[in-house]
Amino acid sequence: MSKTSRRDFLKGAVGSVLGGSILTKTKAEAATVTQVDFGVEKKVPLLCRMCAQFCPMIATVRDGRIVRMEANMDTPYGGICGRGRAAMGALYDPDRIKTPLIRVGERGEGKFRKASWDEVLDLVAGKLKAIEAENDQKSVAFLPRFNSAQELDSNFFKVYGTPNIIGYGDVCFGNGLTVGLSAVVGGKLASGVPDQSTGSVSPDYENAKYGILLQRNPGGALVCHAWGNMFGRGKRNGMQVTVVDPRKPSEAGETDANWVPIRPGTDGPFLLGLMHEIFKNNYFDSAYLAKHTNSDMLIDVKTGLPVQTRQLEKEVKGKKEEILDYLVSTEQGFMFKSEAQTSALFGSFTLDIEGKSVACKTALEMMKEEVKFFTPEWVQEETSIPAQNIIDISKKLNDTKPACFIERGYRSERYASSLREKLLITQINVLLGAFGVKGGVFYNRSVKTTGYMHAPKTKDTSISQWYLKNDINSNFMSDKHYRRTWIKTLLSEKPYKQRVAIFSGQNIVGGSAGSREIIQGLQKLEMIVAISPFLNETIMYADIVMPDCTFMERDEAINTSYKTPIPTIGVNRKAIEPLYESKDGYWIILQLAKRTLKPELFEQYFGEFEREGMMSIWKKQYSKLSGLNEAEMATIPPLESILNGRVWVGEKHYGIKAKGTPTGKIELYSTFLANKKAEFTEKGFDKADYASPLPVYNKPFWIQQKAKLSNNEFIPITGFHPLGTFTGQQTKNNTLLQTINEATNTDAVFINREKGKALKLKTNDIVEIINIDKPEMMNKARVVLSDTVHPDALFCYYGTGAGFYNTMTHFLRNVNKIGFNPNHIANFTFNPLTTGQPAQDFIVSIRKSV
């Protein structure tokens, strides 16, 4: 290989033009680059926050600048997506918030003046102290997101004395996905609601023979580490998929993915149809059900409750646990499960209980009878999926079981029926014997670090506790994730008034359904503070803005929360100094604590951190790890090694087990739901059926409102673009993504070609999109006619709109000038029981814009 220096090479280039012969062209070799050119680079370990998933990655730093990102391949699931690769576009975004800001215009106008850090910190601390003097700390809400100061931020607000640390989950997984899973397989109770976290199970893509993708496709809703990676392995292993979706996503596969278009919001009927076929053709796994589930539980037909139960003390791994023992039917007669050898899975019986005869059936019998109604023909009517497809898909599940799965879903809160759909998904995976086994759906494992501090319990109880107790419609809500319910509190002042909100990374206006009501709520606050690296719709309403730095510009606490099958430990290190006047979240919280808390309280909780910095957090976190086995513990490296960028990983385990259900079994028939249903029925609650443990059909709001759409009406559905953000502004204004975004029409709304033609629309026409319940609310967007969208659906990529009333176009140079964000015109309604947001559960009409 010829090694040409740059100088020689330049000479050659000139020579070739001026002195070259027409017969023999002088070679003008491109510059040869040597190792030295790559060698001056520094590598820094990061955990990517271009979305929220902490994928381990490595930044290349050259001349003090981050120039590229690579995946950290210490984990077998190493991989980062295009968003992570484009992190420099966010870091060096010229429209970042550069200095602290104080509002000078009206809220919403986005008019600010520059301020100093001292000025904004004193203003906020002053307000917090004044409120403390009135003993009203509960009126302060802190709304953190992934780009805040883990281990320090929420604790500061607890030490200060507010119980309202409010998560975003009610616009994502809360609480339909959580309850739909945990009601069956169990989960630690959070204020009485089983609460197994959203990332706790994975479909075993890499070993599955067949899977049904619905409510999520692992390519678009990309969690690269590990789901995207595992999905790719599955495809390479020849996994077959059926995509049940109103819109065909390319990410799931283009040549082979079998697309079954479905009417928006009718996943429930589809799943009920599958269950109908599973029972009709005995596709369920009897041995699995008998061994691991409560399918044999005798249920009182009238009440839906187990006919007889008793509490039993049982020793599990040396610990005593209370187990709910229940009556079953055996060849020797009725007896408690703990005493029975084998018991009947099916059957109807009459029992004498205290002189009364009680009609009862096994749980499985109840379910089988319940789904009799949901024939493939009925499903076709409801979902527009041909009956034969239901029959074929069910058969394929049977042929491939247990190495098959129904996708667990993601961002569940879309329709009033969301919880019901999640419950059906869990139940079907269990019926097929696919839960906990290779090729099916299994539990992820994780490791826990030690908490940095234990903040004292606050004297007041949180807003969520009040709703859980006093509002029957909020009975299954998350006690931690309730930002839209918090808006209800802003508007109603129940249970108490809210005066200050501090948003750290959350964009409640752009990211929650019902922007108008949300803004009305925010307007009632005395002070709105926003901590963020980027402008977003919510910041337009802030009184005080503090420029947070990005994850690339700060050290962070050790992280162990990953959506991976294996326990994983990693840390995010500072690659470059914070740009402009931005500061890292830890510094901001420390400054607020110092200015707000009494000196002795500050010393007690934050003194050590002030003196020793991040090392004090890392040491404490790493001092005791839990959740690992001995073999794994033996491989734990020294802290230094983690801080230097090593990602530690443990083992993957399959295993069929429940995690804290009352019976200790996988509760195909959920006793939590059975009790709730009975309680709600007794109280005369009209939505008691949404708590049924049985496979019943609960309709989404839009179908209750209007069974058939008019020819210009649609259900606004969204999907993630693999380069689009769903958590912040990291990708919205990112120049590195522009070319591909344009090539993939990220700004557009997609409607069915035939339906569009009938409306005399052409691709590239601009349409006005109106919520039929709020005709005064309108969004404009460019339309693309497509054959890959269901006629009832209006599809757009999530979070690509131009902002509430298109405001963001004035502040971010690359955002789409027009575009549709359904949240902005959505109804401010709540999913029954879970309080999740029915993000897509409303009807829009469209007309050509003139």
Partner: protein, 270 residues
Amino acid sequence: MKQQIKCYDTQACIRCFACMINCSVENRVRLQREGVMNVEQSVQATMPHFNYLTPIRKEIGVYPNARQVTAFHHCNHCENAPCQGICPTGAITTRSGGEVVINAKACIGCQSCGDACPFDVPVYSKENGKAYKCTGCYDRVENGLKQSCVEACPTLAMFSGNAENVIEEAKKRAALYTEKTGKKYIVYGADKLNDYVGHLKWITIVEETELEAYKLDTKPERTLMQWRDTAKVAGAVMTVAVALGTTAHFIYWLDKRKKKIAEKGNSHEN
């Protein structure tokens, strides 16, 4: 250095575009390395000519039997690179690893390479007056690194290495997909396509009936008629240039060509 080839697997790909983003990022790294501009400046400009790998999307079929197909548009680093053959200034060379590279410094922007390329690859930047295309990341490869698109792929849908190994792996995958799906998967480019291009150094695993959908031309060619004019003119110009007589004509001709291309505009489908 052994010949490097890349393979793209349409079955394992999740269409996340990480490869395409990483390609444009690496080209910005090069700008900083060469002292042209720092990364914070370069990420503020879209510079589409630095996306050497782009998606061409198209819908096939009618609802409900419809789907979208994302063809990958990229340089194939042809063995008999026609672009290299036609380049009047010798700005295009083949590296020892097989990468066909345009030396931007020597490129005069005549766009002959675009005429000769049967895959419509070289992109002319009106801003810079140069032709751009994939360099095969020869700088990375010659230093033991993977091509940036290959390095970016989270699902191993892109892989690279010695020709024998890559073709062997590709054929293994194609056979497995054929077995599992009942459709015939083939490796496009595993065998020499024709004399015009020779062997390709970018092969693709694809279902046989999808070749057209993925824009994989089995007879890539530009007829002599299509590029003879260019060659003649280029030849004449070079003679004149060598004689150092009238560069005016050369400049005139260049200018005319640039205008012609400007009129052609962007013909990519979306």
